[in-house]
Amino acid sequence: MAHDIAHHESNTAKIWKVFILLSVVTIVEVILGIIKPAFLIDTTIISMKLLNWIFIILTIYKAYYITWSFMHMEGETKGLRRSVVWTAVFLICYLIFILLTEGDYVFEVFKGGYKSWDF
């Protein structure tokens, strides 16, 4: 999208479309969170409930639309886009991987160790 400040097209229709999309996704999340379908809770993928995976994927989907459409990331140059998005995605994935692995390990130690934690 060209960044010409003087004569800019109005994006109002697109903005409302994104708003409706974000609202629908949020409503779906809330409905799933309230009814909690049994089969989504019983199915586990990579040691997490399928329902939680759905929540996380929907959240990232929302985040994508907020960044690309509202924050106008799609209109920025490749250089800016990558220096912001790739840095964040890489570091966040790394951090989450380490901390969750460690958390799970500590859980196992608490549970399986020979010390009592509830006395």
Partner: protein, 355 residues
């Protein structure tokens, strides 16, 4: 300015330094990098939350039971409705912000003023809602007792409904103990807020009312799976739970102990907990309240500062600063910050209330 810059002969090339390789103004680029660093701060918080939650994966509080208030609906179990509403308000204020930016591109001052006004109102409502959430969280609803090992025990009746401390306790009317204050004791010492009920009042009430049972923080595991496990420890644990629990089949729910085992647990109680602070909370592990206060507080602070920055820019728009400057990029920059606040909330909402 131009004359002071040393010519390098690479001015016309990208990355030569003479033009803008990222094609944005300095301010906007720096806003993006600030947002990046702030996003990493929030990720640090949320990842730490994930760490603690994985550490206590079998005893973490269930969000639906904690956040189930809705204004003017007292005693109605309304899980998540209010946060869902808050999320809508914030997303909507994001929309009005982007509409303001859009109007700014077309140099329509009146429209920018209108949309920025809506954005500020939305932000203020959100901060207010968060304060209300905090109030409910801090005040608590039923109360609980804490054991020597730091475990939180809650009370339920025979049907599994929660029972508040005030309905458990048999208050000793003869008891007459004054609060120790500076004025009536040593001047350098005073005691904190005294609990509404003493441990002995609760214990007394619990022993007399034979309907009451104790609900612990443990989430009931999948017993079939545990019994099929090869580890002797898992099988022993499953057998123990099956013997002691009222609800061994309620997978993923909080464990409720049979009366005799409940009485046994009551023996190790050392204190009562009402509501939440940074060291104790009636919902479960102290970490739960700590992360709630830190993450929603840090986010709420962002919203508050966002509202203040928006107000400053709003005044500038009214004064016509950007009309004279002939561009509304400043609105775009605060817009970026405002959208970022919304972006963070989307994640906080998921990890605190949904997952």
């Amino acid at each position: 300015m131009e004359t002071a810059v040393t010519k390098t002969g690479t001015e016309d090339k990208i990355w030569g330094g003479g033009n803008k390789p990222l094609k944005v103004s300095y301010g906007k680029m720096m806003m993006w990098f600030f947002i990046l660093s702030d996003a990493l701060t929030f990720s640090g918080f949320l990842a730490a939350y994930g760490f603690s939650r994985f550490k206590f994966i079998d005893s973490w509080p269930i969000a639906d039971e904690v956040f189930n208030h809705f204004p003017f609906l007292h005693g109605v179990d309304a899980p998540m409705y209010y946060v869902a509403l808050m999320t809508f308000i914030l997303i909507f204020s994001s929309v009005t912000m982007v509409l303001a930016v859009d109007a700014g591109h077309q140099m329509k001052q009146k429209k920018v003023i209108f949309y920025m006004f809506l954005t500020i109102i939305g932000g203020a409502i959100f901060v207010g809602s968060q304060a209300w959430e905090w109030k409910n969280f801090i005040k608590g609803e039923y109360g609980a007792v804490e054991t020597k090992g730091g475990q939180i025990l809650q009370f339920v009746d025979a049907e599994g409904h929660r029972v508040g401390l005030k309905d458990v306790a048999i208050v000793d009317i003869h008891k007459d103990r004054e609060q120790h204050q500076r004025k009536n004791g040593l001047w350098y010492s005073e005691e904190g807020t005294r609990p509404t009920f003493t441990v002995s009042e609760i214990a007394n009430g619990f022993t007399k009312n034979t309907d009451l049972l104790i609900r612990t923080q443990e989430l009931v595991p999948d017993l079939e799976k545990l019994k099929a496990s090869e580890k002797a420890r898992d099988v022993a644990y499953a057998t123990k739970l099956e013997k002691e629990l009222v609800n061994p089949e309620a997978k993923g729910q909080k464990a409720i102990y049979k009366r005799e085992y409940s009485l046994k647990r009551m023996g190790s109680v050392i204190g009562t907990v009402e509501g939440a602070n940074l060291t104790h909370n009636e919902y479960g592990t102290p970490l739960f309240a700590n992360f709630f206060f830190f993450i929603t507080g840090f986010h709420g602070f962002h919203v508050l500062s966002g509202v203040i920055i928006n107000i400053i820019i709003f005044i500038n728009v009214i004064l016509g600063t950007y009309e004279r400057r002939k561009n509304y990029e400043m609105v775009e920059k605060v817009g970026l910050y405002w959208h970022f606040v919304d972006l963070v909330w989307v994640f906080v909402f998921t990890f605190f209330y949904l997952v």
